[in-house]
Assembly symmetry: C3
Homo-oligomer: 158 residues x 3
């Protein structure tokens, strides 16, 4: 019988604080032995991009510019202040010995969290499979996401 | 016995990208045969308004002005740039043959997705039943929403 | 046997409208007899802070300044306009006889809703137990939150 005790996280936000919350919950769930899936859509795709420039249309290039540098370059949803927010957040996290977003993502992968990109978002933003980090799963659609979610005790939209 | 396999979406956001994500998930769920309900609250009500001016208080008129034009006039949560964001989003969606928000909503209705407005939000924003699109259900409260949600495998707050 | 019919709300937002939505759902759930838990993380902690200044680091002091005044001083996610939004929201709520955030929180506590602060957020933002309102529960981590959520019919991330 299939597990029905999983955790599904739909990450639509590309804000640093929300990305961090999403990975923290995912790592916690996986550590408890729950089958854990993260589904990355729209701005959330930033969290599994390498950070290179992608796409050729005006929009895709704009998105690429904004995402340049990958997960270490994203800022929080509040107090961004032209990069100050990110810097402050990092200082604060460092001084409190909080794990970095990059390491948190590695831990998630090590614990078997599935990182699935949303196919439609990839098409619209002109992101190719090779623009994503190693370990990212196959792009999939809403149906796959919902099937995984049906086997989960909680599905969070972040 | 009642279905316990439904999908409930609470849409509080009025941002174009989030409204689109909500309808995409709803349409996907309904297409899978899941009993699907969308509950529209606060800014989310925009997504089922006709787009006319409503209410007489200062606040209600401000809300009305901002919502003028209905679902085709709302902008994304990021990159709005005084309307540029919306225009770009639409171009991008068009060039990638992504269904428009308007058509997505029609599809949702055709697939039997229930679109329920939050009663309290309607009162506070002075929106009348006739200000909502045809097909919108009866205004209801938190209790009704939670009862529907109790029969769902996933409840998303967007 | 333990209840499996609860409601879990993870509140990460500190925006007035979202805090209000969260408490409204919590109060509705508790009134229906559901075991209801609210888990406050990041900006959401504002909703159970007394509103005094906390912490000594630059970041903690900034957070403290922004949170000064507690739950009555927070503004909505849109139309804040340097405090105008909050004032308008309050006027509108008053004229429609909507319960204030402060009273809503009291009702939640009276109905037995558990208000749990996220331990990591408290550490990072240098918030002490005594900075939280009376009635707030013991700080806890992701594991505790997920265990409570596993017994819930719906877990909302707000």
């Amino acid at each position: 019988m299939e597990s029905t005790n999983g955790t599904t996280i739909i990450l639509m936000s590309g804000d640093m604080d929300k990305v961090m919350a999403a990975f923290n919950i995912a790592v916690g769930a996986a550590a408890m032995g729950k089958e854990t899936v993260m589904f990355f859509t729209f701005w959330g795709i930033k969290a599994i991009q390498k950070g290179n420039l992608t796409g050729r249309s005006l929009f895709a290039r704009m998105m690429g510019l904004l995402n340049r540098g990958g997960i270490n370059r994203i800022g929080p949803s509040q107090f961004n202040f032209w990069g100050m927010g990110r810097w402050m957040f990092k200082q604060m996290m460092k001084s409190h010995k909080i794990i970095s977003l990059d390491d948190l993502r590695k831990t998630a992968l090590e614990l078997g969290v599935k990182l699935l990109p949303c196919q439609m978002s990839m098409e619209v933003m002109e992101i190719r499979k090779e623009d994503l980090i190693e370990g990212a799963g196959e792009p999939c659609g809403v149906a796959t996401m919902l099937e995984l979610s049906d086997r989960s005790k909680q599905t969070l939209f972040i």
